[in-house]
Symmetry: none
Subunit: 412 residues, 2 copies
């Protein structure tokens, strides 16, 4: 099965938005063995959209369209579908009932914009949008399929995974590609490659891609095989050989974030944690609490941005800050001990550093961060230098802080 991914929106053509939808859909189609012939992006222009529909429909069996399903005037995708399939837009009673319920729940009045959202091309099948109001549309003809989804990424993603991929999987005929993603942190890509050594021996015909981001490198294994079972088995074997070389750097697999891995570990060990943040400004707490069920181990966090707050909330002596500076091994350690004591948790974790762009000195440059850790057996602090870029320093420091806890718990 061959496919086309068609994204619609003027904002994409003028480069106001980076098109992440394409890559997401491409990855998902690829995972079930459906090749993408082309990705095409066009603006909110009827003639151009119809032309793109025609080409995609002629050349491929599955056309995935995103964008232009919203309630405002520039959204003409639905009219284009009706025109392309030679039919008309009619109000769908089921969709109308659903939308009425949603609007009532949110206490919103019924508007013409809502009315427009109940319109569907005659003959269309719909599929649900679990996180928004615009339903997905599927048109079938001559054994070919066109799926139309909203362009808002978090709505689109849910709908691809819950409806489009399950629908297309049987049509793809069980072609077997297995992907496996191993997630590492605390080690640069080039060191990871070096520690892995001879890749041919490890991969034995499979493929490996390194995907770096701030403070993390994902390794993606891709295996092609005659059957799904065999692809999985071979991916297992490659994973084992990789783990034998660099296992301690791997905190998780697939979509697992470091906070998910750490959370599972804390829950399993029945340990509680509290966090005192300076330079990360709440990001460590935010990430830890992104995990559903984190109230089972996350007791509290404090963002002690001012020096008085470090003394008030953590009992860090004023003299310690004066003599060593707020960004120091000593203060990081005292912060971790202080939050552990105040929150009465098993673990206390702290960050203090210079996120920049201002505030750096030759001795303490932007990017300098100390992470402090305290538990019943004692406390320590680690020093990091993360370079420039406020957002990046915060991201990398939060990563380093959580990874320090993970390694302490696993004695790595």
């Amino acid at each position: 099965v061959l496919s086309t991914i068609l994204t619609i929106g003027d904002e994409l053509l003028i480069g106001q938005i980076i098109n992440t939808n394409q890559a997401f859909i491409g990855e998902r189609l690829n995972s079930i063995g459906i090749d993408v012939l082309e990705m095409v992006t066009v603006g909110d222009d009827m003639t151009v959209i119809l032309n793109a529909f025609r080409r995609a429909w002629d050349a491929t069996e599955a056309v995935i369209v995103t964008g232009g399903l919203g309630p405002t005037h520039d959204d003409i995708t639905k009219k284009a579908i009706a025109e392309f399939f030679g039919t008309e837009l009619v109000s769908d009673p089921a969709l109308r009932r659903h939308l009425e319920t949603v609007m009532a729940k949110r206490g919103l009045p019924w508007t013409t914009a809502a009315e427009d959202q109940t319109l569907l091309p005659r003959g269309a099948a719909t599929f649900p949008n679990p996180v928004g109001t615009a339903a997905g549309i599927r048109m079938s003809r001559d054994g070919k399929q066109m799926f139309v989804l909203p362009g808002v990424p978090y709505e689109m993603k849910e709908m691809i995974d819950q409806s489009v991929i399950p629908f297309l999987t049987p049509l793809a005929g069980g072609a077997a590609i297995a992907h496996r993603t191993l997630r590492t942190t605390g080690i640069p890509e080039s060191f990871l490659a070096q520690q892995l050594g001879n890749l041919d021996e490890i991969l034995q015909g499979s493929k490996l891609a390194f995907l770096p981001s701030a403070g993390a490198v994902r390794m993606r294994i891709t295996v092609h095989a005659p059957s799904a079972d065999e692809a999985r088995t071979r991916a297992d074997q490659v994973e084992l050989r990789i783990r034998a070389k660099v296992g301690k750097h791997i905190y998780g697999t697939g979509e697992q974030e470091l906070e998910d891995a750490l959370g599972a570990l804390l829950l399993e060990r029945k340990l509680t944690i509290a966090v005192a943040e300076s330079c990360t400004g709440g990001l460590v707490a935010h990430r830890l609490t992104n995990v559903s069920g984190s109230s089972g181990y996350f007791e509290r966090g404090v963002v002690t941005y001012s020096n008085p707050s470090k003394t008030d909330l953590l009992g860090v002596p004023e003299g310690l800050i004066t003599s060593h500076g707020a960004v120091s091994k000593e203060v990081a350690t005292a912060m971790a001990e202080g939050i552990r004591r105040a929150a009465r948790t098993d673990i206390g974790l702290s960050t203090t550093g210079i996120a920049g762009p201002t505030g750096g000195t030759p001795e303490k440059p932007v990017g300098l961060v100390y992470v402090g850790y305290a538990d019943a057996s004692g406390s320590l602090a680690m020093k990091f230098t993360f370079g420039e870029g406020r957002a990046r320093v915060k991201e990398r420091a939060s990563q380093a802080a959580m990874e320090l806890v993970r390694r302490k718990l696993l004695h790595l």
Copy 2:
């Protein structure tokens, strides 16, 4: 002048890489008044590439191609150009000399891969690659242009700015486009459209796009005019007419985030703020501290996830939590008052709610959030219902919390 952006590479089709080149080039073309008709992405396949060349060349006057110029085996773009223009690849002496110098400087030996990089389609003009080895190629015929660049973003960007845009600017004939983005929060897209009323009157020939994301809608104005000055003036006028209708919902323009706008306001008024978060788990503090210079107004934050932490750190009476529940108007108000008192700041801000996916009840469903606010004149709490999705509830609640402060300060 109409253009096509064509990006080539298997890694794009399988979603291994997010295509940022397209958006960069689109933005640059747009800035000199060249419209993009389509963005097309294809794999490293000769037939598909030739087909895409043909369509782009027939439909538009400028075709920008990136990808497939590198030294590896799957890079067939150059062969495709030769084939498309009915010519052959020949070694270019100037390119060869340049490459020999570069390789010698880096102490690298001459290889067949290097030899391949000296090949150009006969009749091609080249343009320099200041940061890499693969030169850019320009083919002209019948007044149309094809530019071919490497896909590596930092090489491509330099070459677009230093060669492609300067070449195309005179051809674009000095037409001018102005963009203006107005950022709103706290109002859904459909309500915004309704409050704007008759769009034709407001726009008078300009264009408006609504770009929604969690808890925010951006409105993008696009104006085409004969001169840059006139485009700017007309954008100003459209902005004024929009502000007259929905001004209070607009917190900023361009790339400004709500935390930037709020930070500027606090700094200007010389006001300090402290935050007590429950359901947002540190996200409000994280966003506020994403702003460089935020230590000038952000004193501290606490993430009081457990009930004891609400009592310890904020002095919220245990009895209040027992009688009303941690997620209540009363507790939100007490939290805001408590953090203001503890931190001795002008403003105290709080969030408490049910981020989900678990923990909801019929009376207090997932997505229910109270935002509390306290200043010298008193305190209050507002109730919100944000629907499902843990990350989304956190995002929307953080947005609502910051927006509440902005509106209080501006008496909106």
